[in-house]
Amino acid sequence: MRRGALRSFGLPAPDALIGIGVVLALAAVPLAGPGTYLLGFLFTIFMYGALAGSWNIIGGYAGYLSFGHAAFFGLGAYTTALLLFYSGWSPFLTLPIAGALAALFAALVGYPCLRLRGPYFSLVTLILGLAMYSLTLNLPFTQGASGLFLPFLRVDIYTSHVIFYEIMLGLLTIVTAVLRQITRTKMGVGLTAIREDEDAAGTLGVNATRLKLQAFMLSAFLTGLVGGVYSYYKSYLDPSFVFATSISITIALMALFGGRLAWYGPLVGAVVLSIVNEMLTTQAPPQTARIVFGALLIIVIMFLPDGLISIIQRRLPAFVLRRAKQAAARDEIIGNR
């Protein structure tokens, strides 16, 4: 597994090269001096990209559709926010704690819940999200429904936007790299086996229980990190937003819309849906905008039920696909040893 990872870094596949180029270009965007709105909008896209990507590890690759990722998002958000609120520790430093707590929570609930298959898993995670919302609302130290006001970052408004932009871009890059790397390792093979036929995967020597738990924890960890940054960015948070079922559904929707089977699918879904929604919101009358948005989901899924990327995949130049496939196949063979 480690050798596979090294190999792919030593000999970057074309998709990785393109990715690195895009990340570097995006990192340089603030130099061009775009407005705070563009930085904020891109921050949101990156955030949803990172969330949908994190979700995809368990929801897409393993096929365990979680409807409760808001639990991890909110847990991360409240962890950094409370540490800042009570101890004055910067969220940028406490971020790992946010991720770790989310992962720990995932381990605790994942162990029993991942025994449930298909829809039952989806729904138990949905209830988990609701339970976390209810808990946060009623715990004595969270300020309950009134929400938490956090101090601003002590820099001017543009710099603060740049800082959050770069950090979220970093998180998105990490998530995407993890997502891509998984497809080239034993873990990815194992998760695919679980998704296609879990019982058969067991007979092939895949330790499904452990692998699912690992994937769930990794997914929760990354989601918690994103939540941890988000609370500081927004500087006001309340349970009704960070634990909202709509967050869980939105990120699942983005991943499914983009395509959950490829590492870039969730990212594509997040980018396209965010941009389309923003365009509609600013250009069309409110109800019409929503109706068009809904109709768009219907039409795209009717024709591309496996997500938008099925159209991209068909359009990629043949040699890119071929080299990517070769690289993946090579890593898989090494990884399987």
């Binding site: 563009l38 904020g40 009134s146 006001f149 919101t281 929503r290 109709a295 159209i311």
Partner: protein
């Protein structure tokens, strides 16, 4: 292969059709905006032509001239809070129409851009950023509800922009923000000030003795509840039940039986419309008739009377604005509400929206500039008058605490307290159900 191609062609054709439809829709919606290059053809970009304004309040003012002043914000126009958001939007638009008819702001026309945040706080923050940095709006208008406003206040403060809204609760005015104003505020902590005042005016023997309090688990509910123990104990009213509930409220019967079991004679339903309707229906069904029912932020919207009918009568509530208050401009707003929107009187949030924009207008006209710090400083140093009354502001951006007591009597929300604004004598104790 052919199969693939045809499918793809079909997809593109549909996408194309969709884009065409969208463009046509957007264009047909767009009014003849004076500056189409900067203004997005948003639904509400409406620098109303001065000629269309009904009954211009002053005599033939000079038509506004020059580049328009851009005012932007987001409101929940779809989703869970749309019923209220739409009325705030109408208040904003009415104000813009009136200002343009009366010669504009600083002699320039005003132009509103109101985005739909789909009742999501997340969108409210992003869209306010858009208003500030893409649309380069000269002025901001406020958002709704309390959570969106709280989050937007932080954005406005960071950008040093004056932000006038209802706020919803004291917490958002206690953060040291200097550019935010509640003018007038919908302040949870003050919600029952009128009620306390009126109860204090009753002889002690006539006051209720035991209170049951049920509060919605959200920021406004928490704010309403906060001062209640102290205020009620000052009135010698004992709290026998005090609970919070989550929404959606699945079953109101347990709340009512608890209050009934504790023999509470004053019942507080500190909630919003849907939950309070359920509670009142359950009270009637379970034949629990306390001497006084007070309700939070649900009985002052038109739906309370129109939809709930007689079961909602005699319920007390609070408000910071009211269509029967003796302030200049209110009666015209009532006329507009009935002619334009077929509402019996101007709904509360229509007046709120109008009053917030007036407060902003007073600040701009007082400071004679669009400089945000100058507007802020002027507002904090001077008294202003709006359809909701006259106000001065402290360093938090709040007027001195006040709120009116209302009661629903014969299908109308009447003013009860303070006595100088009373429109009808209160009906107390509450008559039996169905009478």
């Amino acid at each position: 292969m052919t199969h693939h191609t045809s499918r793809r062609q079909m997809l593109w054709a549909m996408l194309g059709a969709w884009i065409v439809a969208l463009t046509v829709g957007a264009c047909s919606q767009a009014p003849a905006a004076p500056a189409p290059t900067t203004a997005p053809a948003a639904p509400t970009t409406a620098p109303a032509a001065p000629t269309t304004a009904p009954a211009a309040p002053t005599t033939a003012p000079a038509a506004p001239q020059g580049a328009s002043i851009k005012i932007g914000c987001s409101l929940p126009l779809t989703g869970a809070f749309a019923d209220t958001g739409v009325w705030v939007q109408r208040g904003y638009e009415q104000w813009a129409e009136d200002v343009n008819a009366a010669g504009g702001l600083l002699g320039r026309p005003v132009e509103l851009t109101i985005y739909d945040d789909e009742s999501k706080t997340e969108n409210a923050v992003n869209l306010l950023n858009r208003v500030i940095s893409v649309d380069q709006a000269d002025l901001l208008c406020g958002g709704y509800p309390g959570t969106a406003a709280a989050a937007q206040m932080a954005v406005a403060e960071k950008n040093q922009k004056v932000y006038v809204s209802m706020g919803g609760h004291m917490a958002s005015f206690s953060q040291g923000f200097t550019y935010v104003f509640g003018a007038p505020p919908l302040m949870g902590q003050w919600w029952y000030e009128g009620l306390y005042g009126w109860l204090a005016s009753l002889p002690e023997a006539e006051r209720p003795k035991k209170a049951a309090i049920f509060t919605i688990n959200n920021p406004v509910g928490a704010a309403i509840l906060e001062p209640m123990p102290e205020e009620l104990s000052a009135l010698n009213i004992e709290i026998v039940v005090n609970e919070r509930y989550d929404v959606p409220l699945t079953d109101a019967a347990p709340l009512v039986t608890k209050a009934k079991g504790a023999e509470a004679d004053i019942f507080f339903a500190n909630g919003f419309f849907p939950d309070s309707v359920q509670i009142v229906k359950a009270m009637r069904a379970l034949d629990y008739n306390p001497r006084l029912i007070a309700q939070g932020v649900g009985s002052i919207i038109p739906a309370w009377v129109q939809e709930l009918g007689a079961d909602g009568y005699y319920v007390f509530s609070g408000t910071a604005v009211h269509p029967s208050l003796p302030f200049e401009g209110i009666s015209r707003l009532n006329d507009v509400a009935s002619t334009k929107y077929n509402a019996p009187v101007a709904p509360i949030y229509f007046i709120f929206g109008y009053a917030w924009m007036q407060a902003l207008q007073r600040g701009v006209e007082g400071a004679q500039t669009l400089d945000q710090t100058a507007i802020r400083d002027w507002l904090k140093a001077n008294q202003i008058s709006t359809v909701a009354g006259t106000f001065t502001f402290d360093e938090r951006g709040l007027p001195p605490s006040y709120n009116y007591l209302t009661q629903v009597i014969d299908g109308k929300v009447e003013l009860i307290w303070p006595p100088d604004v009373r429109t009808k004598d209160p009906i107390y104790p509450k008559p039996a159900w169905g009478q």
